[in-house]
Amino acid sequence: MTYAFQAEGLTKRFGETQALAGVDLAAREGTVLGVLGPNGAGKTTAVRILATLLRPDSGHAQVGGYDVLRQAHLVRQTIGLTGQYASVDEDLTGTQNLVMIGELLNLSQRDARTRAAELLQWFDLREAADRMAKTYSGGMRRRLDLAASLVGRPSVIFLDEPTTGLDPAKREEMWDVVRNVVSDGATVLLTTQYLEEADALADEISVIDRGRVIAHDTPDGLKHVVGGQRLRVRPTDPARVDDVRAILADLTSTTPEETSHHELTARVDDDSLLPALVQRISAAGITVHEFSLHLPTLDEVFLTLTGRATADDDTQEAA
């Protein structure tokens, strides 16, 4: 089993904030590791250490078999990095951005141009190729940023929250891009705040909280731990909330929570429950505004794993 990257016991402190308190991360070649956590959990710090942008206070890490501290230059020849804030040059056109990266990677000017054109085509940016990046939409900018990190055909790609701030349709587009990159043999580390995203893309997920990995599993394993899916029901008539609550409690053997106004959420582990629920609700003459299944949100995952909600507001992501 060869690891494309492997980090052990990473710690990093910024002033008063212990951003990382001993983090282990690893992914086998050709797989996607999802790193799931709230703002301030240490995801970006971990990525920046693996990408040789930051030195850890202690611990060690290898990427492509190279040590991130002693062989940083070799690591940089192996990786592509797409940051949380699209790091494209706004005053340069799409083509100029990509050609510049190609030339910095020692491609000849002609090869750099060919590669830029190829990537712009692939990322649906051909028509915007000669426009300054500052005129791009958020989704286009993210795509250009990702394209820039692929210019050198890296074998390990770090994607730090590549879809944060994108609308759902654009998010799905990014997912397709990530899948294509992986199907070409690259290894990807993807940080995200959405279990849904990690579930859609990752082979394994590390959940990170306050600078520690608090769970590591396959998506299915993790979903099992956090109790499968959530069912959300909102009756048309607010007066029937209690009736719905009783039915949910009866069938799921859990205590439904009122997650928002007149809306109940219950854990559903068993797929056969759904038809039964629909039947009971319909038999009781209750009509519903909403009846939906979804994966647990990050908050729900954290509630299950740590017994508390995400510590979203007390520490900001450092750096």
Binding site: A51, L81, S87, V88, D91, L92, G152, P154, D184
Partner: protein, 278 residues
């Protein structure tokens, strides 16, 4: 995003065959610096207002000092004052024009573009050296504007053109060394506004506390002490000597020494601050 065109899609595996584990080579580094300098130039040319400090500003200085103060200072002759001032103004305008360098680098780092550069297998110093190298073009514009406007205002090249070109060459060299102060400040300060504030605190005393505007012997003794070690004074002395005649050698040696000091002190400081800036 469509899934078409995957035939032409990147094949990440190719990395091992493509760019093998080559250590940074000097020839490559020079090319990286040129590529990064080109990037800075594209940005500068896209925002013409970024050239005000090397075009309009020196014109205003020249006009203002010659026509407002000239009559009063050089025994009533504006022409005589122009002969005295124009060589001197190279020092001040170079120092002023260096401020933008640190500001731009600071803004670049805040925007995250430099994260990309840091993750690439290029020398750590390449983005900084590239930005400084791009300033050669800005200074060429500055020198052209200064000489052009000076000649229009009646400046006489009394010493021949070869010494003038030598003076411009020396000014360019000094500018590229002085620029590292601005780079350093750009690395240690949080915002680009603060870069400007801090740099002006440095640039104003250096440029006015010199022999640029008036002869040094009119100043009180304590100020003369400062003026005599001020690198701008020596640059101005050398440039003035070359352009309109006068002693050159002593000022030239001091200028070259100062250039070496600025480079040896501020290049490593700037690079260290850049490395530390996470």
């Amino acid at each position: 995003m469509t899934t078409t065109d995957l035939g032409a899609a990147p094949t990440p595996r190719a990395i091992s065959a493509g760019r093998a584990a080559a250590p940074p080579r000097p020839a490559n580094s020079v090319r990286h610096i040129v590529v990064l300098a080109k990037r800075s130039l594209i940005k500068t040319m896209r925002t013409p207002e970024a050239l005000i400090d090397v075009t309009l500003q020196p014109i205003i200085f020249l006009g203002m000092f010659v026509y407002i103060f000239g009559g009063a200072i050089a025994g009533g002759s504006q022409h005589a004052y122009l002969q005295f001032l124009l060589p001197g103004l190279f020092g001040q305008t170079i120092a002023m024009a260096s401020v933008a360098l640190g500001q731009n680098l600071n803004a670049d780092i805040e925007k995250g573009v430099f994260d990309r550069f840091r993750s690439l297998p290029i020398a750590r110093s390449a983005p900084l050296v590239g930005a400084v190298a791009a300033d050669v073009v800005r200074y060429l514009i500055l020198f052209t504007v200064m000489m052009g406007v000076g000649l229009l205002m009646g400046f006489d090249v009394t010493n021949g053109w070869v010494p003038v070109l030598a003076a411009l060459g020396l000014s360019m060299g000094f500018a590229l060394c002085f620029g590292w102060i601005s780079v350093f400040v750009g690395m240690i300060v949080r915002t680009s506004g603060a870069v400007q504030g801090l740099m002006f605190l440095l640039v104003l005393p250096l440029s006015f506390g010199s022999n640029t505007f008036v002869p040094v012997d009119t100043m009180p003794g304590w100020l003369q002490a400062f003026v005599k070690v001020n690198p701008i004074t020596h640059l101005v002395g050398a440039v003035r000597g070359l352009m309109v005649g006068g002693p050159v050698q002593n000022h030239l040696l001091w200028t070259l020494l100062w250039m070496a000091i600025l480079l040896v002190v501020f290049f490593p400081l700037a690079l260290r601050a850049y490395r530390r800036r996470a």
